[in-house]
């Protein structure tokens, strides 16, 4: 039969396959054992056979406890093994290359840090950790690369993330694995793993605006700068040096200005108000799409500390 082992194309694949194989052996032994005992009993104690039928005890605490506790301990062992891998799967290294993915019925849109964009394809460098930050324009999708043994649902209204380190050059299949409507089965893509130098060349082979540049453009076009620019007369929080810093809110709590916070502040500005400000910002929910939001966040991340002259207007860090 044509059962083929998937290529082990990411750093996770060998350890996950290792555990899978161990589970197959363990469960196989248990299954074969139980089948053998069951069939053996069926043969020995079939009606008419000459087996001993003196009445056995109907309950033995020792046996019952044994087959309660032994499976339990085995399960705890399997759990511990899988948790170690799970934490690894969920902990992207700090030096990861960040790529943004927006899913949409029925395509994958990818935005690389230097501006290159692609659809239904993802180019990544070999041997370098890559972190994907993903969201959806419409329904729930799921980003699945079997050769990497990774999968993550892509949920509208929030950012989910995924990381991997490709260990094998070549093209691998990308699937949508969460049912998303009519053309779910056609929402495919190709992941191309390139040697690092080829990836660098690929990135610059088409000149495009970087996300920061696009974000800056949107920032001006949509009038964000009219209020958030420190020189403007309107009191809005200054965004310089804001990214990943703590923000004091007017209900006394402190949140971190991460991607999710920035997205929420653009889409639902009233939900978290910075200390000392009034909720006057309108929602930009239907005025900017998910890619635009990602560009705006990239721009906000790119702007460093404010020029000294303007810093008297800041109150979010007192």
């Amino acid at each position: 039969m044509s059962v083929v082992r998937l290529p082990q194309a990411s750093s996770f694949a060998p350890s996950i396959d290792h555990m899978f194989d161990a589970m197959v052996i363990l469960c196989g032994v248990v299954a074969i054992g139980v089948f053998a005992v069951m069939i053996g009993m069926c043969i020995v104690y079939r009606r008419g056979s000459k087996a001993d039928r003196s009445i056995p005890v109907a309950q033995q605490m020792g046996i019952e406890l044994a087959w309660t506790l032994i499976p339990f301990l085995l399960f705890v062992g399997i759990f511990a093994w899988s948790i170690r891998l799970w934490v690894h799967l969920r902990s992207p290294p700090a030096d990861s290359l960040t790529i943004y993915v927006v899913a949409k019925q029925w395509m994958w849109k990818v935005q690389h840090p230097d501006g290159r964009r692609e659809i239904d394809a993802l180019h990544v460098p070999l041997g370098k950790p890559v972190r994907l930050i993903m969201t959806s324009e419409d329904v729930v999708h799921s980003f699945y690369i079997p050769a990497f043994r990774i999968k993550q649902d892509v949920v509208p209204g929030r950012y989910t993330q995924l990381w991997f380190k490709a260990t094998q050059a070549g093209n691998f299949q990308l699937y949508c694995s969460e049912y998303c409507g009519t053309n779910h089965a056609a929402m495919l893509g190709t992941v191309s793993v390139l040697p690092a130098s080829d990836y660098a060349r690929w990135l610059v082979s088409v000149t495009a605006m970087t996300p920061e540049q696009r974000g800056r453009q949107l920032f001006v076009q949509m009038g964000c700068s009219g209020c958030h620019d420190p020189q403007s007369g309107i009191r809005a929080p200054d965004l310089h040096g804001l990214y990943n810093m703590p923000v004091h809110l007017n209900d006394g709590t402190v949140v971190q200005a991460d991607d999710a916070y920035l997205r929420e502040s653009i889409v639902f500005p009233a939900s978290k108000i910075v200390q000392g400000y009034t909720p006057i910002m309108p929602t930009y929910q239907h005025r900017v799409d998910e890619e635009g939001i990602l560009a705006l966040i990239a721009y906000i991340r790119s702007i460093g500390p404010a020029p000294p002259a303007a810093s008297q207007d800041r109150s979010s860090h007192d």
Binding site: I16, A147, D153, Y179
Partner: protein, 541 residues
């Protein structure tokens, strides 16, 4: 027509005759045995509707391009299959037919506590069913049986409301049935029938009823919110209004994971009866069997998050749900070991019900063991939403529940109808079913392992051979499902009279005539011993 059975009239003294024989006397009957048959007829109809949908899917998947039907039709077909099989077949299957028929008989009561409520539950089931069929006739629904938001609320342009109303209504049928069983088992046991003398089938139904009562309301309200969101734009699950689609998934699986136990707990009860009778032995470890049933029902409420390991819930929530999922597997393991030990020093007959029960143990075990792969978070990341999951839950639901249901129908058929059926044919069907089932679903484990996602109506060529194999298995499976229709029909027309206890089985239901009289027992029975006293009978024989 004038065979001994009718002339000699065990039939004339039974519920089949005494309650009258107009259509009206059936449709307005409050006799639990007649209501059980109303359910049996209606769920059989829905089973074959769902099976036709499955057959069409398997037929489409023979071709990697899926040219038999459009993507849209395929999506509607698997949605219909899921909705019908889960809510209109599996959930009511054993409780509403065998449970309805047997609970009063097994506890020694004359009827369920609330007979009119019982009939009302059947009407609710039918109303829900009509909505679902109306939905199908008007063009169907394409959300999958899981109704994930925001697809179901904002993006699907199919008949979501009709489907949701159908499931909502049938949910009430399930709640009321559970309530009826709980009250009956608590208050109407015959003298001497204390809790530890109850057959395990009753314990299975009892555990199921608790889950039905406490989980189904959550589903009903969640579906209600979907309806409101779709009709009026109430924004609880819709991210563009500030809602949270993952909240929907939490609510949905809070019901739908326990729903898996609604489908499997009664099956465990049935199999315990079948194994004891087939091996002529007392069940091994009775008390562990009862407590493991209740344990599964209880822990089953705490594991819903294992459907959402990659859905965006926190890493630590996934860890908690993972360990709880392993813990809920412990009682299932205990049950398998106890069933096998019951065979020890038995006198084993391989009649059809026993073949189904043995098949159940094997398939349920394989389904359970592959469940461990899915409970291990790191492996689940790769396997979830692929055919591995499809194979896993079909091993539990079809290999488990359906095998047990059919085993139970074969076992109690003589009691229900008073007639015997062709044992040869029944044995053949059981063996064919085991072979056909494995041929259909084992390849799907391999497909999932190779990475084929679920709910795809076309697929890359490397999955072709295994899909063809699976479709061939489905043909064998279909034949084995059709066979009982023929030999049961023949049994109804001309089967030999069964007598009160053709299997020499223990249990109160076998102490009354077959078919039982309208009020079950001529005199209220008095119970003096625990269940499954087979060895005493065997020694007397």
């Amino acid at each position: 027509m004038t065979d001994v059975f009718v002339r000699d009239s065990p039939l004339r003294r039974s519920y089949l005759w005494q309650g009258g024989h107009t259509l009206r006397s059936w449709l307005l009957s409050t006799d639990h045995k007649r209501i059980a048959l109303l359910y049996a007829a209606s769920i059989t109809l829905f089973f074959f509707l769902g099976a036709v949908a499955a057959a069409l899917m398997r037929l489409t998947l023979i071709d990697p391009q899926g040219r038999l039907m459009s993507a849209e039709t395929y999506n509607k077909t698997f949605t219909f299959h899921g909705v019908v099989m889960v809510w209109f077949f599996l959930i009511p299957s054993i409780p509403a037919t065998l449970g309805n028929f047997l609970v009063p008989l097994m506890v020694g009561a004359r009827d369920l506590a609330f007979p009119r409520l019982n009939l009302f539950s059947w009407y609710l089931y039918m109303v829900g069913g009509l909505f679902t069929i109306a939905c199908l006739l008007l063009g169907g629904v394409d959300t999958g049986w899981t109704f994930y938001t925001p697809f179901s609320t904002m993006f699907s342009d199919s008949h979501v409301i009709l489907a949701v109303v159908g499931v909502f209504v049938v949910g009430f049928s399930s709640i009321l049935t559970g309530l009826n069983f709980i009250v009956t088992i608590h208050t109407m046991r015959a003298p001497g029938m204390h809790w530890y003398r109850l057959p395990l089938f009753i314990w299975g139904i009892y555990a199921t009823s608790i889950v039905m009562m406490l989980a189904t309301p959550v589903l009903a309200m969640t579906l209600c919110l979907i309806g409101l969101e779709r009709l009026f734009g109430v924004g609880i699950f819709d991210p563009s209004l500030g809602g949270d689609p993952v909240l929907f998934q939490h609510f949905f699986w809070f019901y739908s994971h326990p729903a898996v136990y609604i489908m499997i707990l009664p099956a465990m009860g049935v199999v315990s009866e079948l194994i004891c009778c087939g091996a002529r032995r007392r069940i091994f470890g009775y008390r562990f069997m009862t407590w493991s049933l209740l344990g599964i029902a209880f822990i089953g409420f705490l594991v819903w998050g294992h459907h959402m390991f990659v859905a965006g819930q926190s890493m630590y929530a996934s860890m908690a749900f993972s360990i709880l999922s392993f813990i809920v597997a412990v009682p299932s393991a205990i049950k398998v070991f106890n069933w096998v030990s019951t065979l020890y020093r038995g006198t084993i007959d391989f009649h059809a019900p026993m073949l189904y029960a043995l098949g159940f143990i094997g398939l349920f075990m394989l389904g359970g063991l592959t469940g461990l792969f899915l409970a291990a978070v790191a492996l689940d990341v790769n396997l979830t939403d692929t055919y591995f999951v499809v194979a896993h839950f079909h091993y539990i639901m079809v290999g488990g529940s359906v095998m047990a249901y059919l085993g139970g129908i074969h076992f109690w058929w003589p009691k229900i109808t008073g007639r015997l059926y062709s044992e040869r044919m029944a044995q053949l069907a059981a063996v064919l079913m085991f072979i056909g089932f494995n041929l259909t679903f084992f390849p799907q484990y391999l497909l999932g392992y190779m990475g084929m996602p679920r709910r795809y109506h076309q697929y890359p060529p490397q999955f072709h051979a295994l899909n063809v194999l699976s479709s061939i298995g489905a043909v064998v499976l279909a034949i084995s499902y059709l066979m009982p229709l023929f030999y049961f029909a023949r049994s109804l027309r001309s089967g030999a009279s069964a007598g009160p206890n053709p299997w020499q089985a223990a249990g109160l239901e076998w102490m009354t005539s077959s078919p039982p009289p309208e009020h079950n027992f001529v005199e209220t029975p008095v119970v003096t011993e625990g269940p499954y006293a087979y060895h005493e009978h065997e020694e007397q024989a």
